[in-house]
Symmetry: C2
Subunit: 380 residues, 2 copies
Amino acid sequence: MKYISVLGSTGSIGTQTLDIVRNNDDLSVVAMAAGSNIELLEKQIREFCPKVVCVFNEDKAKQLRENIKDTDTKVVAGMDGLIETAVIETAEIVVTAFVGMIGIRPTIEAIKAGKDIALANKETLVTAGHIIMPLASSMGVKILPVDSEHSAIFQSLNGENRKQIDKILLTASGGPFRGKTREEMKNVRLEDALKHPNWSMGRKITIDSSTMVNKGLEVIEAKWLFDVDFDDIQVVVQPQSLIHSMVQFDDGAIIAQLGTPDMRLPIQYALYYPDRKYLGGDRVDFAKLASISFEAPDMDNFVGLSYAYEAGRIGGSMPTVFNAANEKAVEKFLNRKISYLDITDIIRYCMDNHKKIDNPSFEQILETEQTVYEMIENRW
Amino acid sequence: MKYISVLGSTGSIGTQTLDIVRNNDDLSVVAMAAGSNIELLEKQIREFCPKVVCVFNEDKAKQLRENIKDTDTKVVAGMDGLIETAVIETAEIVVTAFVGMIGIRPTIEAIKAGKDIALANKETLVTAGHIIMPLASSMGVKILPVDSEHSAIFQSLNGENRKQIDKILLTASGGPFRGKTREEMKNVRLEDALKHPNWSMGRKITIDSSTMVNKGLEVIEAKWLFDVDFDDIQVVVQPQSLIHSMVQFDDGAIIAQLGTPDMRLPIQYALYYPDRKYLGGDRVDFAKLASISFEAPDMDNFVGLSYAYEAGRIGGSMPTVFNAANEKAVEKFLNRKISYLDITDIIRYCMDNHKKIDNPSFEQILETEQTVYEMIENRW
């Protein structure tokens, strides 16, 4: 039996993680955490019977405590509660599927407690890769990527010597606006941006995917996960989202992972690594597939991707600025407060007006995020 | 330093193996064998200074012995000589690039002597897989495939549990006549069949590639190399020859190996396995590539492939019949004695007129081959 803690159990990755647990008798959830969706969390508690759950929102936690009085599950709240679910003694692996900076501290504490991490929180490595990776290495814990692209790279590196990586080929669908110019994207409506051609995901990540900011964040994550230079990470647009990513080695061989777009695969792979286990679902039918096409990313029009490379290369606190500016800008776009192109203009503005901090501490990362939020609120 | 014996050093795989050795200071050739091309062999001896070389043809061996009197290389001849080069004490790995049944006995002796095998001789596993694989396993020697497709599968299996293979996806270019009906292939001339769209190879294998008999032989080899059922080996036509093959696992994940068509890659991979080393040459340029297309193989018109599955499923001596009939038929086609479609008609005829021997000994395999040759000579 493998015991799991799921941080962010009510979100897209969280519910799919529970779907994997539901189908496998040798997985058991001992802890869960959610932000405020206590209706869904209650159902999950009744199905999976965890020892402890955290509701980040204190009032909601109180309410849930009342609602599940008849169960044996303990309800905790706030950051202390979140950390309690992350370090729970029985868990071997923690799925960090909380969205936002809130996911970082519990991840650090889980690593310190020796838990393997099934990493789905993007902010963790983007903003604090320089803290997380050495810590994980010194604790001997595995950072198992749950993102489909990073999982594909991780699978492609299976059994290989990482010193022999020539470059990472990170694939991108190109999103719904692939082929469009910035001029043509001027009047993009929220409804258009929320239509991803291949993947069904949360709203924020769907917007990030349309701007290719998401791919930029993945580039920065890949740098940390696989210890490569930014020059050795190449984004390849592969609109059918069938090749999930590739690695080219020193001998010119490319190893790729392909499959139908199904997030349950990378989640299950992380939970069972290095083993694989049967997973139901559609298979690629090469007889029907016809073709996979490729193109270079258009960084002139999808400037978010080039800003990400720039922020990553500058390093220090700059990736935090990139991420925080995007987070706040997308929130405003989702609330119809700004236009589509404002998203990347805001990122540009914040990067231009930030003085980089080298090797920032976790506190400095949080401060940087706040400064960026204020910078945006003051101007937009 | 890694010491190598190269059987078939003057052929396509042999010369490319020596090219790898030429570019790597940590590889050394201690033995070589060739059929009769003593002009090239002499050049190779003067460059690589092996301890011993075998010329299969006794007269040619005598002549070479005279020609290289000034060197320290010993010249041996015939099957005994071939075996001497295969079991030479200093070699750790034997590249078996001899074409035809002649390659099998030295391979068996090399395995018995504990040498790893870089396997390029197709007949070895097609006709004697049931002898070779258990022997290699009991001797603890590695059978490292040199063929690009099998190497791709082998690379895709790196670090994976073979019990979790769902199916092998063996890619095929489809050859120069892809899309044609048998009727349209009636008048194929030798010159047309010798034009392979992507790979530069020997004449016999180029014809085999055009009929897809080559792919059929690879299907049978894959069965032995990777211990899978024929039902779990699917041929996928991928005309650009960019995906060299793939493996689908139980979880639906597909791992593939891609690259430019360059036989030096699988050769080098076998020589350095499990390591990789820099190899110069073209790299895939995904920005320029545009697309990779796929289709199902047309087994109704390329009947050679379906006959291979049939022979493989029947097992015993039938794959030997398939291979020997094809070998003799292609020889006749290369000598302009028969028409293009006669090749597969001859295979069909021989399979229909053979009574299968279960679990044939090496002697029975050789007898079967002779019987097939006679069967063909008597009729065509």
